[in-house]
Every structure is written in structure tokens, then in C-alpha cells.
Subunit: 360 residues, 3 copies
């Protein structure tokens, strides 16, 4: 694809400055731009890049005053950031229009599976008995949709996603490559001889509408009942969701975090990367859990911010961590104090004795 | 599938109370039951659910005395929990009987591979030269079994599992989707120019009988020799097992934990989620390692319980962690003490001088 | 394959001692050797194994003096370790010569894809439109190479690797099974109603030459621009690399570590397992980050060694950690000091009063 500065300016209702015929073939950050790049500058601290960039076209705010000459074409708009976001949106729609459609061969689609209209099913996908693929869903190559599983309208499963039997994926859900949904929960009954017997995991996973899940995650099916990822939640890569967990609406979880069994996370929470939350607890709405924290008990108060392992109030943790660095000095101070106090004790004993003699 | 309350009661040797014709189509937790659900109540704290549940049939202990009316059908048995577990077991056997069998097409099976009786090999599976698939093994779609690898009797590999060349998977082993067995150990020899040269990883991985491994794990092949997961061990999702590690019999490891190279973990250990164990150490039998711990040296005493990073005795860690929260107060106390002691020192000097003068 | 002791001795320029016809069928560590094994002893602490081993042939240093009889055949060379490494190298070349070649069926190769000479494309691989597979590249079964992606000369993608659209993989790169390259960065714009809108991730990933990446990693494409893994870097399993990250040349990252968005890691760094680095910071060349550390700010000084969460100077952390274990004692000491000082204060007050009276 190739667009001229004029075409883009028209699209955005902006004005060109410089060569209106400059061509762009892709977008880039101003600091990484090459010939053919379209960039934007919104934050004034990036303005300096404008005078050296190899970008062909740069979106800038109407209010920007140039302090030097520029070699690229400018497009002036009221809000360069908003215009750029709107361009990306259009770009994405364009891409979506170019997205693959149809059923590629070879693929394996069970006779009892129901396949909607306007779907994409890539080569080497396996759609098992009684699975349902709703209208507009895209399933990239090498994916697996188990028996009786359902993939919602316009959902997108990237390459090699595996959805086990009976799991449900909502509308507009995006699941990145390699993620596994519906693997068995980790449930074993200890036996008298120290071995373990598997507890059948006969529940499922439900992923509600508008959820996005990153690559190579693992989301366990419930022992009984349902592991639920609620509407609009966003999960990053390599996340572990154990059996019977519930992740609330519009909660965001960063990469490599893990939620242990039966824990219920509220709505609008934010969980940092590599955090862990133990099982069988509740996390109130709007809780923020910092990266690498370990949450070991329920959070009852909304808007709590947690940090550390075991996690507690964020600001208190920061204070304790700051002092942790000075433990060696504090330890030395305590030792010095002990010596000094021992000496003082002795001196006072002497003084007291002397005073007693004097007064005696 | 659909069963009547009478059928289930007969199966369990129990007695129905209420509508003996009530039909069940699935099992659920009492708090999540819907019409058609079969549930059980064993713990009295769940009894209250019994009076509101939409479940069709509930297993209860013979000893239960109702305090209100119930609308569901009851099945009374001596031990509701045991009966339910036995039902799940039967359910699982039923499912196993319904499990897919045969070799689906298209699949890729090398001419020199040996395929046992009664196996399942899903579409898009790749079975390389000299691989052996023993009787009753199930390999779900999109899986890869490398050259000379062996999959034991009745083992089950879910979708997209990859077993590299020469690795051995024992009988009744279950491996969940996306897990990789036998990838190269992380071994590189530093070169004078700061670059690294790959050290060939020519060992393999052996997974003994009755092991279960979760989804999206990575188990490295040995540099030389064998990385071993011993009989009956259970590994959760997203676990890292490095080259030449040995995991002992009936040891249980929770999700996202990692074991570094050449470490030997004993039997009957429990490792919590997101824990890390460094390389080249030994962990005694029956060791418990808490979630998110970092174990940095060998554990020689069986039945040790560890916590923290670096991990040490669990109870001691709890005590230190409790005081960690109060570091700011302790720091202030030490500062106050220093001031007070400085003052006292001065006062004593004054007193001593005065006393000397008095006595002089 | 089978070699005689004589053949190996000739290959290495060594001398046999004992049965020159002894046959070897594989290599092993001396402590795990079985009949047919070839081993080496370099470190004298392993010498004792020599007298009991079942190995058929053992490489030893010319300088080794036997203290007992041995039943295996010895091959004496100037440096047993170097000879063994050179054998492994030859073994690897042999294996490489036996590596699969050609395009297996069924595979899916778009008409517009460019496929070089001497490649391996396994069954069930998907090569999308405009993808380029350079000469000598190997792509194992069930892998996915997206639209316009490029796989460099002699690169090796193991089973089930997924390379998203437009990503570039350099020459001689090795990527282990299940790894995902180019999944969307985790970027969402919060909306007034608390929901999130996806920010299009339109950049790509570039993996430079000679990089090795372990199994089941996730490497996000850039929001704009490029996520870069520089030449010669080595990444272990289950690693998370977020959007717009740069990993410097010859930097080594151990398993389960995660690097958050836009962070730039320098050259020749070492990052331990399960470490986390927050986003938008810089890590200087030759930085060492210990396992499980959490790095929360830029490292400007090369050769810094970091530990802990939040990470700081390694040696200081060790000191603080050592004292952390003694916090309960320190806390008690402070309490005792407070009591003692209170008592002393009282005694001094009494003395001072008495002295005043005496002198008054």
C-alpha cells in the first residue's frame, strides 16, 4: 500500500506543508523512521527529531511552531495524536478487510460441527464433533477446537490455539498463538501410599465477549462448574489461570502472572507482570497489584494498591523496602547502642554507688 | 447423556427422596447448579444451598436432617463425598470409552514408525521415523513425536504436544496441550570475543509412568544422559524443567515454577507456584517449597518447609516477614534511641565530672 | 551408528589402551554410562568412576595415572575435555547431515511464498503469502510462517513455532518448539467507562543472526517500529519479551524471565531465571541480573550486578538479606534497649536530682 501526503491530509481534514506528493508506505515512531514512513509528533519533547528525521510525512499539531527547517512533509491537524490513532484505526479496518476468509484445505471439520458464514478456518485446523464456529470467526492454521466447543461471532484465534472440549469463547474475543483453553485443573487426591489420584476435571472455561488473551497462556477448565474470564478482560502472554478462577470485567493482567484455583478477581483490577495470587480468595474491584507481588489473602476494600511478597499496602511496602536496604547500618547501630547502653549502665551503677556512699 | 435419579441411586446403592424420575444431564457444584445438575453436599456449611438450589438431584449423607423443604430430588448414601467421587470415576471411564480411536487423516506417520493397537492418532499429527506408539496411546491433533521417541501404553498427549527425538513417555502419562518435551538444554560456552557457542544437547528426556504434565510446559533434554520425571510426579502448567534435572516420584510442582539445570528433587516433595530452584543442588524427600520461593542451596533434611527468596525455614521467614512490615517504626525507634543515648551519655559525663569534683 | 575405539582414537589423534575393538553407540556422562557408552574424564574428582564404569570407551588425559585396573578401553589424548567437545561437534555435524530435507506433504505453501534451495518444510507447516524461506532453512512440522515473514539462511524452527506476519528471523537462528514470535503487544487505551480499546500493534519483530530462543516463549511485535533481538543473543524457555523491547548482542536470558515494553537491554548482559524488568528503562552493557530479581529502574553503569526486588547492588542485597533473617532478634534487641534506656533515664534523673540537692 502507498498513499500520498495529500491523500492522508484529505482523510484527516489536515493541511500539507512541503511536498504534497510525498509517498508513505508504512508508519513508524519518529525516532525509528525511514524513507516512506508516516510519523506523528504530539509530545514537544520529540520535536527535535522532526529536524533530522528521514520520515516522508509527519503529522503535527496546528499549534507547532517550527524552530528550524524540515525536509519531510508536514500535515497539520488540530490533534496529531488523535489523528494518528484514527489513522491506525482505519489502517486496522483495512487490514481486517484483507483478512483471510474461507476454509483452507487440508483442514479437519467433523460432520457434526456447525460452521457459520463468512468464517476463516486455516489449513491444518481441527474442528471436532458438535463444535460451533459462529459467523465471522477466524481460526488461524494449526488450531484445535474440541468437541462441543463454541467460538463466538468475529472471534479470532491465532495459529496453534487449542480450545478443549465444551469451552466457550465469546464474540470479538482475540486469542493469540499457542494459548491453551480448557486443559485440566491441577487436582489430585493424595493416597495413603503418598501417590496421587487424578480428580476428574469435568467443568469447562467460558471466555466472555471482547476479551483478549496473549500467546502461550494456559487457562484450566473447572473441576466442576466454570472457569470464567469476564467481558472485556485483557490478559497478556504466558499467564496461568487455574481451575474455577473468575477474572472480572475489564480487568487487565500483565504477562507471566498466575492465579491459583477458585480465586475470584473483581472488575477493573490491574495485575502487574509475574504476580501471583493464591487460591480461594477474593480480590475487590479496582484493586491494583504490582508486578512480582504475591497476594496471600483476600482484598476486601476496592481501590487497594498492593505490592511485595506477601503483598500489603503499596506505600507501606515502599517504606519497608527503602529501610531494607539500610538493614546493615541499622544492625550496626543496634550493636553500637547495646555497647553504649551497657557502658552507661555500668557508669550509672558506679555513680549510684558513689552517691549512696556520699549520702550515706 | 441423561440419567434418572433412580438410575444413579441404583448405581450407588442409595435411596431417592422426592421425584425419582428427575433427570440429570451433568454435574455441578451446589452453588452453581442449574436445572439438570447433579450435586452433592458433604460439608454441613453448604447445607443452606440445598434449600435454594436449582439442581435436579443432590447426593446427601444418610445422617443429614433437613431443616426446610427441598425442591430437588435427594439421593441418600452413607458418604456423599465418596459416592460423588465414585460417580466421577465412572463418568470418567464412560468418557474414556467414548474417547476417539483410530488414525485420522491427514496425518503423517513415517514408514519406520511402530504403531500399537487401539491407539488414537489425530489429524495433523506427525510421527517421525522409528517412533513407537504403544497400545492404547492417544495423540490428539497437531502433535509431534520426533525420531525414535516412544509413547507408552495408554499415554495421552493432548493437542499440539511436541516430543523431540529420542524422548520416552511412560505408560498412562498425560501431557496437556502445547507442552514441549526434549527441547535443547540452555548450554553455551562463552567465547573470548563475548559471543557464545552452542554446546550440543545430545541427551534425552524420560517421563516415567503415571506422570501428568500441564499445558505449555518446557522440559529440556539433557546435555548428556537424561532429564527424568519420575513415576507419578504431577506438574502443573507453564513449568520449566532444565537439562539433567530429576524430579522424584510422586512429587507435585505447581504452575510457573522453574527448576534449573542438574538439580535433583526428591520424592513426595511439594513445590508451590512460581517457585524457582537453582541448578546443581539436591532437594531431600518430602520437602515443601512455598509459592514464589527461591531455593538457592541444597535441602538435606527431609520434611523441611521453605519459604522466601532466598528461601529458608518457613516459620522463621514468616517471623521476619512480619517484622519487615514494621521496619519504618523500628528504624524510628533506633533513631530515637540514638538521640536518647547521646543525651544520657552527656548527662552521665556531667554527673561523673560533678561527682569527681564533689569527691575530689 | 557404531564406532570402534580405534576409529575414535584415529579421529582424535589419540592412543587406545585396552580392547581397541570396543564398540560405542552413544555418549554419556561417566556416572550414567552403560555398555556402549563413550565418556570422558577431565576433572580428577570424577576419576573414581573410571574404575567402576560400564562405559565401553573413556577419553582421558595423557597425564592420567591409573591407580587401579580398568575394564573399559581408554583413549589417551592431550586434553580429554577438548577432544570430547570436538567429538560432539563432529557428532552434531553428522546429525546435521542427517537432518530432514525437502518439503513434506501435506503442507500449505502460498503461491506467492518464496522458497529457497535445500530447505526442510515439514508436514502441516503453513507458509503464508509473500513469506520468504531462505536457503537451507529448516521448518519442522506444524509451524506457521505468516504473511511476508522471512526465515533466514540455515535458520531452524522446531515443531509448532509460530512467526506472525512481517517478522524477520535471521541466519542460523534456532527457535524451539511452541515459541510465538510477533503476537500483539499488550496495548490498550482506557476508556471513560473503564473498558479498554485495543491499540493496533502494527510493528514487527526482528531476530538477528545467530540468536537461539527456547521453547514456548512469547515475543511481542512492536506497537510501531520493531522489537529486536540482536545478533547472538540466547533466550531460554518460557520468556516474555514485550513490544518494542531491544535485547542487545550476545545477551543471555534464563528461563521464565520477562522484559516489559520498550526496555532496551545492552550487550553481553546476563539475566537470571524468573527475573523481571519493568518497561521503558535501559540496562547498560555487561549488566548481570540475578535470578528472580525485579529491576525497576535504569542501570547506567556497565558491569553492574543486581539482585532482589526491587533490585539493587548484589553485595548490598546479600548483606540486607542476611540481616533479614535476624529481624526477630534485632526487633527484640530494640525492645530491650528501649526498656533499658527508659530505666537509665529514670536513674539519671534521680542521680541528677540528688546531685543537685547535694550541691545545692
Amino acid at each position: 500500500m502507498q498513499f500520498s501526503a495529500t491523500q492522508i491530509a484529505n482523510l484527516l481534514g489536515g493541511k500539507t506543508e512541503g511536498n504534497a506528493d510525498a509517498k508513505v508506505t508504512g508508519v513508524a515512531k519518529i525516532e525509528e523512521a525511514v524513507g516512506g514512513s508516516l510519523c506523528f509528533i504530539s509530545n514537544p519533547k520529540y520535536e527535535e527529531y522532526l529536524y533530522h528525521t528521514k520520515a516522508s510525512v509527519v503529522l503535527v499539531n496546528n499549534s507547532l511552531k517550527l524552530s528550524k527547517n524540515v525536509s519531510c512533509t508536514l500535515i497539520r491537524v488540530p490533534d496529531a495524536y488523535a489523528s494518528f490513532a484514527s489513522l491506525l484505526q482505519k489502517y486496522n479496518e483495512l487490514i481486517a478487510n484483507q483478512a483471510p476468509k474461507g476454509i483452507e484445505q487440508p483442514s479437519f471439520i467433523a460432520a457434526s460441527a456447525q460452521i457459520g458464514n463468512d468464517v476463516y478456518i486455516g489449513a491444518f485446523c481441527y474442528i471436532a464433533d458438535d463444535a460451533v464456529i459462529e459467523d465471522g470467526a477466524s481460526i488461524y492454521p494449526n488450531s484445535f477446537v474440541g468437541k462441543g466447543a463454541r467460538i463466538g461471532k468475529n472471534a479470532k484465534l491465532f495459529a496453534g490455539v487449542k480450545i478443549y472440549e465444551s469451552c466457550k469463547v465469546g464474540q470479538n474475543v482475540i486469542i493469540h498463538a499457542g494459548t491453551v483453553v480448557g486443559c485440566d485443573g491441577f487436582g489430585f487426591a493424595p493416597q495413603p501410599d503418598g501417590s496421587y489420584q487424578k480428580i476428574p476435571q469435568i467443568g469447562n472455561v467460558v471466555i466472555e465477549d471482547d476479551v483478549e488473551i496473549g500467546a502461550n497462556c494456559a487457562i484450566d477448565r473447572a473441576t466442576m462448574g466454570t472457569t470464567i474470564i469476564r467481558k472485556g478482560a485483557k490478559l497478556d502472554n504466558l499467564i496461568q489461570i487455574a481451575h474455577n478462577v473468575e477474572v472480572g470485567q475489564h480487568t487487565v493482567i500483565a504477562a507471566q502472572s498466575g492465579i491459583a484455583g477458585s480465586t475470584k478477581i473483581g472488575r477493573y483490577c490491574m495485575v502487574g507482570g509475574q504476580a501471583g495470587i493464591i487460591g480461594h480468595i477474593q480480590i475487590a474491584d479496582h484493586t491494583n497489584i504490582n508486578a512480582q507481588s504475591g497476594v496471600a489473602k483476600s482484598v476486601l476494600e476496592p481501590h487497594t494498591v498492593l505490592n511485595g511478597t506477601p503483598a500489603f499496602d503499596y506505600k507501606s511496602v515502599l517504606k519497608s523496602q527503602a529501610i531494607f536496604r539500610h538493614l546493615p547500618e541499622i544492625n550496626n547501630k543496634v550493636k553500637d547502642l547495646e555497647k553504649t547502653v551497657a557502658l552507661l549502665t555500668q557508669q550509672i551503677a558506679t555513680l549510684t554507688k558513689a552517691a549512696t556512699n556520699t549520702n550515706g
